[in-house]
């Protein structure tokens, strides 16, 4: 399962920390999977669970949300709300029969280029192993 399959992964990165961390990974010329498409948001707290669900229903094999470390949020508490929403989202995905390993919430700071590389690559590997999102064939919108 998962052989010869290039996943499509969507990453919501917060402008102040994780997006900057991803830029730093770029400056360091680390290898980041081409399967990751980045959507910039101002804060991880902006990520509406509906967006994540939409992504999965539209065929994303994995969704990554990255924000500032707890306590470091540029908007003070946005990432705490992201964390709570994510916990609820995971529960909802369970009831939909979706593998919750397909979504991930990670904290990446602006100076953690290396860490962003690790997170992105590890998540891509995880999604590749999980195989294509079953929703792609089961549900059409």
């Amino acid at each position: 399962m998962g052989e010869g399959f290039t996943p499509r992964i969507v990453g919501f990165l917060c402008n102040w920390c994780s997006y900057a961390g991803a830029d730093l990974a770029g400056a360091a010329k680390l290898e980041i999977p081409a399967s990751l498409s980045v959507i910039r948001v101002m804060c991880s707290g902006r990520v509406d669970p509906v967006l994540v669900a939409t992504a999965l229903l539209r065929g994303a094999d994995g969704v990554l949300i990255a924000g500032c470390h707890p306590g470091d949020c540029h908007y003070r508490e946005g990432n705490y709300y992201a964390r709570r929403r994510f916990a609820l989202l995971k529960k909802t995905l369970e009831t939909l029969g979706l593998d919750t390993k397909r979504v991930m919430l990670a904290w990446v700071s602006a100076s953690e280029g290396q860490r962003f590389g690790e997170v992105a690559n590890q998540f891509a590997k995880q999604i590749t192993e999980l195989g294509p999102n079953p929703m792609k064939t089961k549900i059409s919108l």
């Binding site: 102040w16 900057a20 360091a28 306590g71 470091d72 540029h74 700071s109 602006a110 100076s111």
Partner: protein, 426 residues
């Protein structure tokens, strides 16, 4: 009537967090600011820390928005590689001569791709990384340093020793390297001056009992800070020089306190921060702290100390008399208040030194005609009552240039200088 004082530009000396904060407040009120910085980068000492106490904020993330704001602010003219040469005049009308060293890289053309580093034939110790790794003669001190434009170190670049070399220039696709750049002399007319030149660490080399630079397992606190840094020489991997992770650490506080004659205010907290950070990375690490008096003032610090203590860090109130080799480990000899002598073995010893005024303080004090304290810091006009004003009207001091203190107090002082400069209360 526009008082010259009210609209004249302001000179801020030092682009660490104090200088950045003062510059932003002044610029946002509409004043023009010249921010001069001796090195090629902004952020001073704070950007060297991975995390800062007491909330373990990521230091670089924390000040990144301020740095970006500073670089984009149209009222602030940043002059890196610049130092004050002479000052004359009085409040409202100072005349300051600045010498700006050439960077040899064009700030507009350079896109920060770093392609010029590889071909450079010169490799030297990277002072930003406390000598823990090397850099080239054309360099940026660390990943993420701003402005994201390298500088050429004329002390080590072979061109400045008479040799022919165009390696960096040939590698640049943007024609950003310009060997024809010259050192510049500028004359700035300003109405007020803020001195925010920060601190240096006490030179541990002046001590002999700790085995610093002799024993491989002995590190300075700043070296450990860079080892902890995710953009540092080990990308945040905590290892001894052998490459192995340490199993036990002894932190020795108050290094240089006796020589300097004062308590540096932040070291106890910095040591606690290191404990917290190291314990997080290496949960089985055994840490012992040697200290004289625990300095954890204020509403937020004691809680942090308690947390660290509860995580299993040992605190021994004692004077460390010597550090020596003991097989593969280090032996830390100490004496408690009651005179009891003992020894502790550890893989790694971290020396926590005093904070000193910056190296050029005396020269700058002379040029500005402001007194220095016995310890070499810039003196306040009335120590208890005018903490950021100096004997010279129109010249203010903020941050560690005035005395050792933490980031919060530094920022408050920087904001206070802006308050005094912008004040029109007559």
């Amino acid at each position: 009537m526009t008082d010259k004082k009210e609209s004249a530009p302001v000179l801020v000396i030092g682009a660490g967090v104090a200088g950045i904060e003062a510059s932003l407040l002044l610029a946002n009120s509409g004043r023009k600011v010249y921010l001069i910085e001796k090195t090629s980068y902004i952020g001073g000492n704070v950007i060297k820390f991975e995390e800062v106490f007491p909330n373990m904020d990521c230091a670089t993330c924390m000040i990144a928005p301020k740095q970006q704001e500073l670089l984009a602010n149209e009222n602030i003219e940043l002059l890196t590689l610049s130092q004050v040469e002479a000052v004359s005049g009085a409040a409202g009308d100072f005349s300051v001569k600045i010498k700006q060293k050439a960077r040899y890289i064009d700030l507009v053309n350079c896109i920060g791709c770093n392609a010029c580093f590889d071909p450079c034939p010169v490799e030297v110790d990277n002072e930003f990384e406390e000598g823990l790794n090397k850099r080239k003669a054309v360099y940026i001190p660390c990943a993420g340093a701003l402005p994201n434009v390298p500088a050429i170190d004329t002390e080590n670049c072979v061109r400045f020793k008479g040799q022919e070399c165009q390696a960096c220039q040939e590698a640049c696709a943007f024609e950003a390297i310009d060997f024809n750049q010259q050192d510049k002399e500028l004359e700035l007319k300003v109405g007020a001056i803020v001195v925010a030149t920060g601190f240096n660490m006490f030179d541990i080399g002046k001590t002999s009992q700790y085995g610093y630079k002799k024993l491989g397992g002995v590190y300075s606190a700043m070296e450990i800070e860079r080892i902890c840094a995710s953009n540092g020489p080990t990308q945040g991997e905590i290892t001894l020089r052998s490459g192995e992770a340490p199993k036990s650490v002894a932190i020795i506080n108050c290094v240089g306190r006796e020589e300097k004659g004062y308590c540096s205010a932040v070291c106890c907290m910095a040591a606690l921060k290191l404990c917290h950070f190291l314990k997080n990375k290496l949960p089985d690490l055994k840490i012992t702290q040697f200290y004289s008096d625990l300095c954890i003032p204020g509403k937020a610090y004691q809680h942090f100390y308690q947390e660290v203590k509860d995580s299993g860090v040992d605190f021994i109130r004692a004077e460390v008399t010597g550090v020596s080799e003991s097989g593969k480990e280090l032996a830390v000899k100490y004496k408690t208040d009651q005179g009891k002598g003992n020894t502790l073995t550890a893989d790694m010893v971290i020396l926590n030194p005093a904070l000193e005024p910056g190296a050029d303080s005396a020269k700058l004090a002379g040029m500005l005609n402001i007194p220095q304290s016995r310890e070499g810091f810039f003196s306040e006009k009335e120590p208890d009552l005018t903490p950021v004003a100096t004997a010279q009207d129109g010249i203010f001091i903020a941050g560690c240039a005035q005395g050792p203190k933490d980031i919060a107090e530094t920022i408050a002082e920087a904001e206070a200088t802006a308050g005094r400069i912008l004040s029109r209360s007559g």
